[in-house]
């Protein structure tokens, strides 16, 4: 009897280990799949692909509410939905509350402090993009989140990216500065280029954004050649980066052409 009980426990232990291992494996695979989809979705800027990634991360997070990697990735996709929502009010309204809730949560998770605070700041920044009136209340909060994120990890490129976007899009009378924006984007690019190869399950976002935003800032400074370089560099990294390929670069070339005919 004793032998059969021991055998049974042994079998159950083995089974649970196998199941656990298999579950962990499938979680990791799912996470990788979601991450790939999220990265691809940004390159082609496709809502449906983002939605698929969102479904995966949501499933993973609802299965295990301590899976903060899933929460971070989920929040990241929601940030992108808000970004898309600046031209799609229904999309913005659908995700804004979730994004804020998740952003706040991830910003408080130990171990995600710098990345979490940066992501939460990004979400609050998108709220301002949609509603200027919130700038008065959210700007100080964003600045303090970014300040904390930079203090926790001075090498977090995304913190400098969001700082730069804020600087670029804030009117000068309220503290905006193109020069400060470029300094932040430059730091972002430098940090990304120094970083080791990405092996994490977190979506590694921001490098392409930084190149695109650097180009935009350079255009504002009337440094078209520098803008052209950053756009082309972005395309050399991701030839299908749609924001640059279909919007920024053609616009720059068009304006350069117009200037030639003007002068």
């Amino acid at each position: 009897m004793k032998t059969s009980t021991t055998t049974l426990f042994g079998f159950l232990f083995l089974l649970s280990s196998l199941l656990g291992s298999s579950f962990a494996q499938s979680t990791n695979e799912l996470m990788k799949e979601g991450k790939t989809l999220a990265s691809k979705a940004y390159i082609v800027y496709d809502k449906d692909t983002f939605t698929k990634a969102h479904e995966i991360f949501e499933k993973l997070y609802s299965t295990d509410s301590t899976n903060y990697t899933a929460l971070y990735n989920l929040t990241y996709v929601e940030y992108r939905f808000l970004e898309m929502g600046s031209r799609d009010k229904a999309l913005f309204d659908k995700y804004v509350n979730k994004a804020v809730e998740h952003g706040e949560k991830i910003s408080l998770v130990k171990g995600f402090a710098s990345e979490g605070k940066t992501l939460f700041a990004s979400i609050l920044m998108m709220k301002i993009t949609y509603n200027w009136a919130e700038a008065m209340t959210l700007s100080p909060r964003i600045n303090s989140l970014l300040g904390e994120a930079e203090a926790i990890n001075q090498n977090n490129p995304r913190a400098y990216l969001i700082h730069g976007i804020m600087k670029l899009n804030t009117p000068a009378a309220f503290g905006g500065s193109i020069k400060d924006a470029i300094a932040n984007f430059t730091k972002t690019i430098s940090l990304f280029e120094k970083a080791e190869q990405d092996s994490s399950l977190l979506v590694n976002w921001g490098y392409l954004d930084a190149l695109a935003w650097t180009g935009i800032a350079n255009e504002k400074m009337e440094m078209a050649d520098a803008a052209l370089f950053t756009y082309k560099k972005a395309l050399s990294i991701e030839p299908d980066f749609s924001w640059v390929k279909y919007v920024l670069l053609p616009n720059l070339e068009k304006s350069k052409g117009e200037k030639k005919t003007t002068y």
Binding site: K89, N131, W132, A133, E134, M136, T137, L138, P140, R141, N143, S144, G147, E148, A172, A173, F174, G175, S177, K179, D180, I182, A183, T186, K187, I189, S190, E193, K194, T214, N218, M221, E222, M223, D225, A226, L228, F229, T230, Y231, K232, K233, A234, L235, S236
Partner: protein, 733 residues
């Protein structure tokens, strides 16, 4: 055999591949040969490039062949471009020297005693600070009064800078002088400014030791730059218990042509009706202000801007005087028009010109007093900035001003009797003055070759041809940056200014008065924690000479003198928990022998302690609470110690004690403001606010009025001598 073929093919491919890419490498250094990290180095019209590392080194691969251009960009440095030819080399070395741009130099020369609206240039008072200062009514001058160096002599909008009279501070808009930037001028001063916040792009304020650029001024400078071509169409409508306002910005041709317009009408009747005090007025103060500008950018660097203000106001106040009870009626019409042109010529010379005209008419009536003052000013100014090299800049300029002030009407013969039938003097006086001035100033960002030493050494000369007067004013500003956060600054300079134009009146003044003089000594220490957090402490001494002094024979002479010693401290901060604001404190000891002060005496601007605390905090999303607490030592005044009866006029003449030997009670006031930011109808950015001025109902007084025989006195409450509640909203689309 197969594997050998594959191996050979791979080697060939590798060879071809390695031959097709050339390595471009090098380093980036500045003029001192220090490495510059994070410089973007790239080949023109390609995506090939890299950023320099911490040692200034860079390297990247390219497939391009033939002649290509290597570019390098870093903000604050001149753009680098060099053509190279790529042939069959494996690598090419390109060493890059970047020169600091003139812009960078400009940022490192910061004068003492100043603050402005640009970050990175020291102490900042931004537009948002002005807009959200509780009790400041979004008025620039009222907000400025919370900064160090400006004493709280009264509640008026005039700026009393470091022991100076308000006329010792000038206001300039787009280079043009404006002598009356206020509304509701009365014998107690003015309440607000005529300069609408919507038009302010940037501003610079200095309370001492300022540049040779500014002439005919003793104590302070407020230099305002107005907005140019608007970037987007937007309109704003605001209404409160005290005023209504509409403003719009219209970009007609993107980046080339645009208009800004503002209409403001204030009507104080509702606010007095709600808070009490309407019985004080026969005509509640009301004003109208139309401000507009048109800007045309005719080239990348060339710009013409026409800016104009038309403002008028009226007020009728019941006055209970010692010998007379009646109504003070005041009305003002103010017009200001300025055409400014700016351009960069010969690549390194920035040129700015301004032509302006202003006319100010003010009428005061009280008993026998019935005086119309007309002040017409025509001015021209030309400023040049020449960038000698990346670290040295020569400023120079000339200005011409023609001012014609006319006083027409009647004034009481004796101050103590303003009854309608009192003895009077009839005045029809023209005071004509023209002034020409010019200056040179050399700014250097590396004095004695030391990069942390910055200096501005200048001299200006002003001449008043009609008075055959002229004066030269040397001025020096030196700063030393101890480290990234700390800077020590010092300033010395001589400043001259003509006295109050009224004293040139041939009837009861002296048309041959000379200019007043002040010598400034300033030493300050700045600590910038970061863009949003800064601390400054500043010591100063001012010596006054040639001040106007009453003279029984000449009416006035120039034998007056005085001094002002003090320390100003400010801590300005934006904390991570959403709390922002500033604390400022100023201590001053100032004495003057001037006007009717026969010996060196505490001047009326000797406000020993000045304290301001401004704090703003977001209590919830979209809800902000702000407080503004002010404390100031009471203003000195000359007590009345008795009275003598004048039978001929049937009036008592007061007998005064020693000059300025008494003080009014200390000034204390707490304003609180609750602001809610929201969006209406998904499109209109809306701000609602509820403001409590002097919320604790603390008693503050302007002065006293007396019983006819001066045996009893009563207090005259200040503008905000009682608790006042204001509600309002602003909608922007």
């Amino acid at each position: 055999m197969k594997s050998k073929i594959i191996l050979i093919a791979l080697l060939l491919l590798q060879n071809i591949f390695s031959q097709s890419k050339i390595k471009i490498e090098g380093s980036v250094v500045d003029e001192d040969k220090s490495p510059l990290p994070m410089v973007m180095v790239f080949l023109a019209n390609s995506g090939d490039g890299a950023m320099s590392d911490d040692k200034g080194s860079f390297s990247f691969l390219t497939k391009l062949k033939g002649k290509v251009t290597v570019n390098a960009n870093l903000i604050g440095y001149e753009k680098f471009s060099k053509e190279i030819e790529i042939k069959d080399e494996k690598k090419i070395t390109v060493d890059i020297d970047l020169k600091e741009s003139a812009l960078k130099m400009k940022e490192s020369v910061v004068s003492a005693s100043s603050f402005g609206s640009e970050k990175g240039k020291g102490l900042v008072l931004s537009r948002i600070d002005v807009l959200t200062t509780p009790g400041g009514a979004a008025d620039l001058f009222q907000s400025l009064k919370t900064m160090p160096g400006i004493t709280q002599v009264s509640e008026s909008a005039e700026l009393y800078v470091r022991g100076g009279d308000p006329i010792e501070t000038i206001t300039m808009i787009d280079q043009a002088l404006i002598y009356h930037p206020f509304s509701y001028e009365s014998t107690y001063g003015s309440l607000f400014s005529n300069l609408k916040n919507e038009f302010i792009k940037g501003m610079y304020f200095s309370s001492g030791g300022f540049s040779a650029k500014y002439g005919n001024v003793l104590s302070g400078v407020l230099d305002i730059e107005t907005k140019g071509v608007p970037t987007r169409m937007q309109s704003n409508f605001g209404i409160s218990l005290a005023n209504t306002n509409f403003s719009t910005e219209i970009p007609l041709i993107e980046d080339k042509l645009g208009f800004n317009f503002n209409y403001d009408k204030s009507f104080t009747k509702p606010i007095f009706w709600l808070n009490g005090g309407l019985d004080k007025f026969t005509a509640a103060p009301s004003s109208q202000n139309v401000t507009g500008s048109a800007t045309y950018a005719y080239s990348k660097t060339g710009k013409m801007k026409l800016f104009g203000v038309f403002a008028k106001d009226i007020q009728g106040v019941n006055v209970v005087g010692t010998e007379y009870e009646g109504t003070f009626n005041g009305s003002t019409v103010s017009k200001f028009l300025n055409l400014q042109h700016s351009n960069i010529v010969f690549q390194k010379l920035v040129m700015k010109n301004s032509f302006s005209f202003s006319k100010y008419t003010n009428n005061w009536k009280l008993g026998v007093l019935d005086l119309i003052k007309t002040d017409k000013v025509f001015s021209f100014r030309n400023d040049f900035e020449f960038f000698i090299n990346s670290r040295t800049r020569l400023l120079s300029g000339i200005e011409y001003e023609k001012r014609n002030i006319n006083y027409l009407g009647q004034i009481p013969d004796n101050d103590y009797n303003i009854r309608p039938e009192a003895q009077r003097k009839v005045i029809d006086a023209d005071i004509l003055n023209s002034r020409v001035g010019g200056y040179f100033e050399l700014e250097s960002a590396n004095m004695f070759g030391v990069s942390n030493f910055a200096s501005a050494i200048g001299i200006r000369y002003d001449r008043i041809p009609t008075l055959k007067l002229g004066w030269a004013n040397p001025r020096i500003n030196v700063s030393y940056k101890i480290n990234e956060h700390s800077t020590i600054k010092t300033a010395w300079g001589i400043f001259n200014q003509l006295p109050d134009p009224r004293l040139f009146n041939p009837v009861d003044g002296n048309p041959n008065l000379k200019s007043m003089q002040a010598i400034h000594y300033v030493l300050s220490y700045d600590y910038l924690f970061d863009d949003d957090n800064s601390f400054r402490v500043e010591l100063y001494h001012k010596d006054y000479k040639n001040l106007p002094l009453e003279n029984s024979l000449l009416k006035y002479d120039n034998n007056g003198k005085g001094f002002a010693d003090g320390v100003d401290v400010i801590l300005k901060s934006t904390l991570t928990n959403g709390l922002s604001g500033w604390i400022s404190y100023g201590f001053i000891n100032t004495k003057r022998k001037w006007m009717d002060f026969e010996k060196l005496t505490s001047s009326s601007f000797d406000i020993t302690h000045n304290f301001s605390l401004i704090a703003k905090y977001f209590v919830a999303t979209n809800w902000q609470v702000g407080i503004n607490f002010k404390y100031a030592t009471g203003r000195p005044y000359t007590p009345i110690i008795g009275a003598a009866y004048r039978a001929t006029e049937n009036v008592y003449e007061p007998v005064y004690g020693d000059k300025n030997t008494s003080r009014f009670q200390n000034y204390k006031r707490l304003d609180i403001r609750l602001t809610h930011f929201t969006t209406l109808f998904n499109m209109a950015n809306t701000v609602f606010y509820l403001e409590g001025l002097n919320i604790l109902d603390l008693k503050n007084i302007f002065g006293y009025y007396y019983s006819p025989d001066y045996s009893q006195r009563k207090e005259i409450s200040s503008y905000f001598g009682r608790r006042t509640v204001v509600v309002g909203m602003s909608v922007g689309i």
